[in-house]
Symmetry: C2
Subunit: 361 residues, 2 copies
């Protein structure tokens, strides 16, 4: 739920018009119409849930990947190994969302027959917000787990070389009356983009976010940008990030850590990896008993006592679901800067942004 | 690698003699000889790796569980549901290690045929150090993942009710020349036992470990014991702990969080749950290519540059493997207090501790 500069100049855009415009931008990069809609949907999903760092703000970056940096807009992911509950998918250097969609469809389908399925993806690229995948799995009455490699911004605990990514993991558990419980977290104490915002405003970052380049904790935003992001929980978070990265890359033969690129030169096209796991609840327990149990746990959590000054307790995904409800109804809020960047990218590609701008509220 | 009071009065015991003595203690509680050896092996494994909090220090507590608190020494775990890659195991109110051993054997066997297998365990109890299970899976060329419910010592982020456990997770990845990479972490910033050590010594605990009972961060050990353990990474760690707990309990119908007991009344016998996952590497990639890739990642990690004053960089499990090598050779170090407690428990049950005491070095 990061806040970005300029939210005071915000307008709201109906998500269908936003998705359509963004899809036309990606189609103009050479993607098929179907793939372009898939990619646009991933970004609009994140904006809907208030995770603007993974939303349409990414359009200029994605256009650059597809037109200059070597990601194949016509890349065609395929299943290259299929053995029981184990699937390997080669993303064909398409965007990670195209490979990930194939992977999620495949693990859901496979988990219908063998009840658990794990897909390891190689030949992939940036895959967007991981809850987009896990929520699709959870909607099928399955627990969805997804993890991704990320460009390295952390060091081993006690080290100074950027060789471990924030490597996000998402877990979505089918829920009862209030929908799924959805966790989607990177394993660093903060994100690179957040430190950049502080640096632009010339503000100190909070303690615990970063180390300087020599591995000493710092609250100086510029030193942090030169330095390292701190993992959550010291050696524990670095260990978890390492493991998510290994599951997302080495199992399929994708590039791990620096093999997938770095923060200076960017991502190496087609070197990224992800994993997707589906666990079919009904194979373990009656699904109604399961969701009733999850509902009890959720109620206890939300209704438990709060510390002074805390208004509400949120289960993972609660806040995002609340924001999504409003954004679906009222439109997706975008500030003028973000809109200008999308319009600029679209215009360069000959895509008409008139319908988008006219739909603003 | 927690250090306990009294390590200055340490003697070393050959692990075979220690395991044998502890097994005879458990057999005297009514366990079969085979189950007693299994349970003793779990504890000696932890001591061997320097994780004494999960080692033979637990003997008096385990004896109490088996003889007074309602855990069934003759409990007989069985597979109650078997569907493709999905297994449900009822622990029969045996110790968690007995159910977990059945579960690990079952997921390894199943992952040989369908390549991925997930066992959800209910009717279980305390299961010891989780790397005991995941390392057994990794030894078969499979990635092993295990998670457990734990008695709640944390609150929702912003809350004050103890309803979330530290819920540990272990992941072991088969490695190359240096053996597996083995992570085993609880999702709290510290453990209850560590705070107790500070309280006994009347010392302040480090910042970031705990909240007092009203949810305010504290460095007062007594206030922390009355209060809450902090999760790693704030809302991220609580979310991860919640998810590990749900996977370990709700999927099998075990008790989640407070349903499995609390820190005042202790664990409810037979209410605990765990999960075990095996992923057969060879189904994804040639195992030699995989371990060569893991070795490259491991070398880069260990050989990367260190911050000032840091002597060595450890991959997850490196330090424990180093300690294990020495302890296997020189014997397991136990301080006089720990030995006295084991001797007391053994003597009450009529078990001769002469051989153990004579073997001390």
């Amino acid at each position: 739920m990061a806040r970005y500069p300029g939210e005071e100049n915000e307008r709201r855009f109906p998500e269908s018009v936003l998705r359509d415009t963004v899809a036309r931008v990606f189609a103009a990069c050479g993607m098929t119409d179907g793939d372009a809609v898939t990619l646009a949907d991933s970004l609009v999903h994140a904006d809907r849930r208030g995770i603007h760092s993974h939303g349409v703000l990414r359009v200029p970056d994605y256009v650059k990947k597809l037109t200059e940096d070597g990601v194949d807009p016509r890349g065609h992911p395929r299943i290259v190994s299929d053995a029981g509950a184990a699937l390997v998918i080669d993303g064909g250097n398409a965007m990670g969302q195209i490979a990930g969609t194939l992977a999620v469809d495949a693990v859901i389908d496979r988990a219908r027959s063998v009840n658990v399925a794990f897909a390891a993806v190689r030949g992939s690229n940036h895959s967007g917000a991981l809850d987009w995948y896990t929520m699709r799995i959870a909607a099928q009455g399955m627990i969805g787990i997804a993890g991704s490699n990320a460009l390295p911004t952390m060091a081993p605990w006690g080290g100074v070389d950027k060789i471990v990514g924030l490597n996000p993991i998402s877990i979505a558990v089918p829920g009862g009356e209030h929908g799924p419980i959805v966790l989607d977290v990177a394993l660093g104490a903060t994100a690179h983009g957040k430190i950049r915002v502080y640096a632009q405003k010339d503000q100190q970052i909070p303690e615990g976010w970063a180390f300087d380049a020599s591995g000493v904790p710092t609250t100086d935003a510029a030193a942090a940008l030169d330095g390292l992001i701190q993992p959550i929980g010291g050696h524990k978070g670095i260990g978890l990030a390492l493991m998510v990265g290994l599951l997302a890359s080495v199992l399929s033969g994708a590039g791990y850590g620096t093999e997938s690129g770095n923060m200076v030169d960017g991502a190496t096209p087609g070197a990224d990896g992800q994993f997707y796991l589906a666990i079919n609840v009904a194979a373990f327990r009656d699904i109604a008993d399961f969701t009733a149990h999850i509902s009890r746990v959720a109620r206890q959590y939300r209704d438990s006592r709060r510390a002074d000054g805390v208004e509400r307790l949120y289960l993972p995904g609660d806040l995002e679901a609340e924001v999504a409800e409003r954004n679906r109804r009222d439109g997706i809020p975008l500030n003028d800067e973000a809109v200008a960047l999308i319009v600029e990218a679209a215009t360069k590609l000959g895509v008409d942004t008139g319908p988008l701008l006219q739909a603003a509220r």
